[in-house]
């Protein structure tokens, strides 16, 4: 008799890998990425809108002027000229920054991982908005925290709930939030809530981790001050060029006080020595021309606004009664809540069969919640495709409702 061990290292892996397994949802996404499927699942920026000729020019300039540097290792903190340039980008959102207080990371995603690495010991409590960006949860979960979930409503994180937890004696290591057009909710933290959160966290000496990938993708209304602007001393700010330029260059950053940055730089060096010098220089050069990036960004915002409109109009027309949804003033996502008996994870196979895909809500909670929710991304498909996808989803929801009614005693 032989015992077949498919993986001979299975007893050697760290506990933190226990959640890393094959899943039905992943299997379905493999089908959902096929062209015949309208994918409202992935949050892919519409990079096709970027002017290729200009980018070619940018890349050529970088190689011509800084060839050896672009092809060499760099410092762990990231290229200084880029950090300078990004302070300008942050200033456009009212965030003041010193390049010394920044570390460039491989997308903001790496910053999430590094923040987890320097703050979280196994069993530590961290507070996260609920629902929260799935990539933040997976980054943090590798460090085995316990989660304090703070629900959101139309005004963002319900700060009263955090306050109640603090009064109960809970002491999270930090509070994670995506305050502008959040992923997955599309919701923006109101000004009053921002002030309340800032005051509460300062009082309790709990740092805030502000994740702001979508802040500059505002379709209407006036921008609200970033949390970092309201309290530079107690907010670790994460930025990225993924949504305003390109996710392919993998340039994000953290802005925080020196003591935090020092640790993040050491953690960054331990992880990958340094970011891509080439891509950092390309990014620096791209943002060097302010009218260029502003023009390109404005046309992206116009595209995303039309797509948001197409999605919201489609939902209004095709979704059955009982569904509610957010109408984001920016960003990439609409968050849909369905009647509680619905199970969006279970329904995904039928959706893919009908050639439309979404992300089931449960992905955005560290526990089993979010069953009756789904995230719909309007950033990538054209308006026609969005309408088509929403119509397919609407008819599926109708059929599910009919099936459910038929199963009631």
């Amino acid at each position: 008799m032989a015992e077949f061990s498919i993986d001979r290292f299975v007893d050697l892996y760290a506990t933190r890998t226990s959640g890393m397994s094959a899943s039905e949802v992943r299997a379905l996404f493999a089908v959902a990425s096929r062209p015949e499927v309208v994918s409202l699942a992935g949050g892919m920026p519409f990079v096709q809108a970027l002017p290729t000729e200009e980018l070619l020019q940018v890349v050529r300039e970088v190689l011509e002027e800084h060839g050896p540097m672009a092809l060499q290792y760099g410092g762990g903190q990231g290229d200084l000229s880029l950090r300078h340039r990004l302070t300008g980008l942050m200033a456009a959102e009212g965030v003041e920054a010193d390049p010394e207080d920044m570390v460039i990371t491989t997308g903001a995603q790496q910053a999430l991982d590094l923040v987890g690495k320097i703050f979280i010991d196994p069993g530590d409590l961290i507070a996260v908005e609920a629902p929260a960006y799935v990539g933040a949860l997976t980054a943090f979960s590798a460090y085995e925290p316990r989660y304090l979930q703070i629900d959101i409503d139309a005004d963002g994180m319900i700060v009263d709930h955090l306050e109640q937890a603090l009064i109960r004696g809970e002491r999270p290591k930090f509070v994670y939030t995506c305050p502008n057009f959040g992923n997955p909710s599309g919701v923006t933290l109101s000004y009053e809530r921002r002030q309340q959160l800032i005051a509460l966290c300062r009082e309790a000496s709990v740092p805030i981790l502000e994740d702001n990938p979508y802040g500059m993708l505002r379709f209407e209304g006036d921008p609200l001050p970033c949390l970092r602007t309201l309290d530079p001393d107690n907010v670790i700010y994460l930025g990225t060029v993924s949504k305003v330029f390109s996710p392919g260059v993998r340039v994000g950053w953290a802005l925080a006080e020196q003591s935090v940055i020092q640790r993040l730089v050491l953690a960054k060096e331990a992880a990958d020595l340094c970011g891509s010098s080439f891509m950092m220089l390309v990014t620096e050069r791209y943002f060097a021309d302010e009218s260029r990036w502003r023009t390109n960004l404005a046309s992206l915002v116009d595209i995303y606004r039309s797509r948001r409109d197409a999605m919201v109009a489609g939902i209004q027309e095709y979704f059955p009664p009982g569904a509610t949804w957010t109408s984001p003033a920016g960003g990439f996502y609409v968050w849909v809540s369905l009647p509680d008996w619905m199970d969006t994870k279970r329904m995904l196979a039928a959706a893919v069969e009908r050639r439309v895909a979404y992300v089931p809500g449960s992905a955005f909670y560290p526990d089993e919640r979010g069953r009756a929710q789904m995230r719909l991304a309007f950033c990538y498909p054209t308006e026609d495709r969005i309408r088509e996808g929403i119509q397919r989803l609407g008819s599926l929801l109708e059929d599910e409702a009919q099936l459910y009614r038929s199963l009631q005693p």
Binding site: M1, F4, V10, A27, A30, A349, S406, P409
Partner: protein, 312 residues
């Protein structure tokens, strides 16, 4: 000899199928065959095959289309022989509702079940009697889509109150759901290859989570496998006999995997059959072949020869 290995496709088992296909391709190459991988989702199938002019097709497609007779019927139409059963037999084998009935009629033991069709629920008011299904098959029970693979859409139900949700989940994958009695005991897989059909050593399946679901199947290390299965010799002989009877009853050939439970009294129960069993590095058939002293190349060569014998 040129062999077109069909793999990929548009089902949720696409990735698994591609892994199976690549493994078959390697094995065929080792036996000196000229294997070419064809993914019907990437290139138009008929055109590609007419251009390639293979001697025979190996179907490593998993799930609908690849296993339900659709592709087999198409190949027959364009006059290309293929490994595995004819279209009609695939159609029956792939559909648990039909396969279980065929097994029952042939006297092959399969757990008691009730079929619930989506159309019957939607249009004929079948929902009001759903509760009696739990009484008929007993609890806990297993709810499965009639036409799906890799345990996708399957769930175990302990409480009657959860039955409706489980049925909806299964119906997300298929037009009908099978509510089946859950057999306690040892889970085994029996591989049968060649003509005349020969049973390979049984593989015993011990998922660490206790449930052999999608994650347990495709996460390396999530399930322990023992081959031959750790069951008494006489019981193993009964299990193999039951598996081969299932293969015969359903008209299957060349390469089949039969999934069974051995209950606590040592009786075998056939759960389902697979006409295109997984051939990945975590799959059961390659494991069974290894236990029989056969390399993947030997096994694939035998399977291919048994199919070619029909072509003449």
């Amino acid at each position: 000899m040129r062999v077109a290995v069909l793999a990929g496709g548009r089902t949720p088992e696409r990735d698994v199928s591609l892994r199976s296909g690549h493994r078959v391709l390697t094995a065929l190459g080792e036996s000196g065959h000229d294997g070419v991988l064809v993914d019907p989702a990437e290139r138009p199938l008929v055109e590609t095959l007419l251009e390639l002019q293979p001697m025979i097709c190996w179907l490593a497609l998993h799930g609908k289309e690849g296993e339900d007779g659709t592709v087999q019927r198409l190949l027959h139409f364009i006059g290309l022989p293929h490994v595995g059963p004819a279209a009609f037999d695939c159609e029956v084998a792939f559909d648990k509702v039909l396969a279980k009935e065929a097994l029952r009629r042939a006297g092959v033991p399969t757990p008691v079940w009730v079929t619930v069709e989506g159309a019957a629920l939607r249009d004929l008011g079948a929902g009001v009697v759903l509760g009696t299904a739990a009484e008929r098959v007993g609890l806990p029970c297993v709810v499965k889509p009639s036409r799906s693979g890799s345990a996708l859409g399957m769930s175990f139900v302990d409480r009657a109150a959860d039955l409706a949700g489980a049925v909806m989940g299964a119906l997300s994958f298929s037009e009908a759901a099978v509510i089946e009695a859950k057999i306690d005991g040892t889970e085994v897989a029996a591989a049968a290859i060649g003509a005349p059909v020969e049973g390979l050593p049984l593989v015993e399946i011990v998922p660490k989570s206790g449930v052999y679901d999608y994650a347990a199947r495709y996460t390396a290390g999530a399930t322990d496998y023992f081959c031959p299965a750790r069951i008494p010799t006489d019981v193993a002989a009964d299990v193999t006999a039951a598996a081969l009877r299932a293969v015969t009853a359903l008209g299957l050939r060349d390469l089949t995997r039969v999934d069974l439970m051995v209950d606590t009294a040592g009786r075998p129960w056939v759960l389902e059959v697979n006409v295109s069993p997984g051939m990945t590095e975590t799959s059961l058939v390659p494991m069974a072949a290894a236990a029989a002293g056969m390399s993947a190349a030997d096994m694939c060569d035998r399977v291919l020869r048994s199919a070619l014998a029909r072509v003449g």
